[in-house]
């Protein structure tokens, strides 16, 4: 059970690129990390490629379902999903789907900048309405959902994801800084490398 009681408006606005670098440094090599559309996967890429990174390119809202599939297929490996607030809002039903399956190895990191940043920074309806997406996750049946108060709290919540059974949700309030890099757009190669990293494909071809 998460002990955090940080509310959405009290959460510090942090920098996405820095948080993703912190995550990658903390979790080590073994976990899979799924980067959602746009800036979520850009900053995952910018933090340095890992063998078990997957960068999703166009299917807005599907980072969590993809992560759920990975988590179901490899229940012993931790799976972290990085998903934007606009993207999650488009596919809120997936929170119930995850809650129904209770994958103990899945952690969802909600990258909440309040906007559709990659399409020009328009505010999302959730931001305009004051929708608390972590509260939505809890109400969907994911009680281990919490806003990170600041970077130190984020580290603590990531440690909880690694050390305790999930599914976990970490809400991250973000500043409006642009991403630190841009993912190479070669889907077949991204998929091939990820499958090799996950041990789901063997190939005699170097790579």
């Amino acid at each position: 059970m998460s002990a955090s009681v940080t509310t959405a408006h009290n959460a510090k606005r942090m920098n996405r690129a820095a948080l993703v670098r912190r995550l990658v440094a903390r979790i080590g090599e073994d976990p899979a990390v799924i980067g959602g559309i746009g800036h979520s996967n850009f900053d995952l890429w910018a933090a340095g490629h890992r063998a078990r990174n997957f960068y999703m390119l166009g299917s807005m809202g599907l980072a969590v379902p993809i992560g759920l599939g990975v988590a179901l297929a490899q229940p012993r490996r931790k799976v972290f999903v990085l998903e934007g607030d606009g993207s999650l809002l488009m596919q809120l039903g997936c929170l119930s789907t995850v809650a129904a399956q209770r994958p103990a190895n899945l952690a969802i990191l909600l990258l909440d900048n309040g906007t559709y940043q990659i399409t020009g920074g328009q505010r999302t309806p959730a931001e305009l309405a004051g929708t608390d997406l972590v509260a939505v996750a809890r109400a969907a049946g994911l009680p281990q959902a919490a806003w990170a108060a600041d970077e130190a709290d984020f580290d603590r919540l990531v440690a909880q994801c690694l050390d305790t059974e999930g599914p976990h949700v970490i809400g991250l309030k973000l500043d409006d800084a642009p991403p630190a890099g841009q993912t190479e757009r070669d889907p077949a190669q991204i998929r091939d490398r990820f499958m090799r990293g996950m041990g789901a494909k063997r190939s005699g071809l170097p790579g």
Partner: protein, 176 residues
């Protein structure tokens, strides 16, 4: 072949999925698919789950495939109609053998005009995305078509769609 002809279509599907190690079944329900869905739930070989949207089901399958588990998404014609963007950007772009089985509504006795209209979009969408698809109309062809389609999808790393015609399933008709 003769004994096989007595076997209902959904039992044939279940057997072929098992023989091809397709273990993950994600669905948004349809009345015609009911016996197949129940059969999957009842068999511990399968991990069977309801998704809130068909898009999610495709995402779940694609994630599972990349982590070493084969899966199939079950849906109705109207559910398929919600998928063009995710099919183009995920299984097509990333070359993932996402398997789909669609219970066909909107033809051969449809009573709902919306279903009839959305049905007409299904094959053009599949064709324009270059997705291999077959319509299964006969029980004696069901196993062959499904088995060969799964094999081809996996070996060519391409999505595939099996459409279950009312000729096979009986479909759904308006009760007077």
């Amino acid at each position: 072949m003769n004994e096989g002809a007595a076997q209902p279509w959904h039992e044939i599907v279940l057997e072929v999925l098992k023989a091809n190690e397709v273990r993950l079944v994600a669905y948004v329900p349809d009345n015609v698919l009911k016996p197949l869905i129940s059969g999957c739930h009842a068999d511990p070989f399968f991990t069977t789950l309801a998704a809130a949207r068909e898009e999610e089901a495709i995402g779940i399958l694609c994630g599972a495939w990349m982590a070493g588990m084969r899966g199939i998404a079950l849906m109705q014609t109207s559910g398929f109609a919600t998928l063009a963007n995710v099919l183009a950007s995920l299984p097509c772009a990333f070359q993932i053998p996402a398997l789909m089985m669609v219970s066909e509504r909107g033809t051969l006795g449809e009573f709902n005009i919306g279903q009839a209209m959305v049905n007409r979009t299904m094959r053009p969408v599949l064709d324009s995305l270059g997705i291999e698809h077959h319509t299964i109309t006969r029980r004696d062809e069901c196993g062959f078509i499904l088995d060969r389609s799964i094999r081809q999808a996996v070996t060519t790393q391409a999505p595939a769609c099996l459409i279950l015609s009312p000729l096979l399933t009986g479909g759904k008709v308006l009760k007077a």
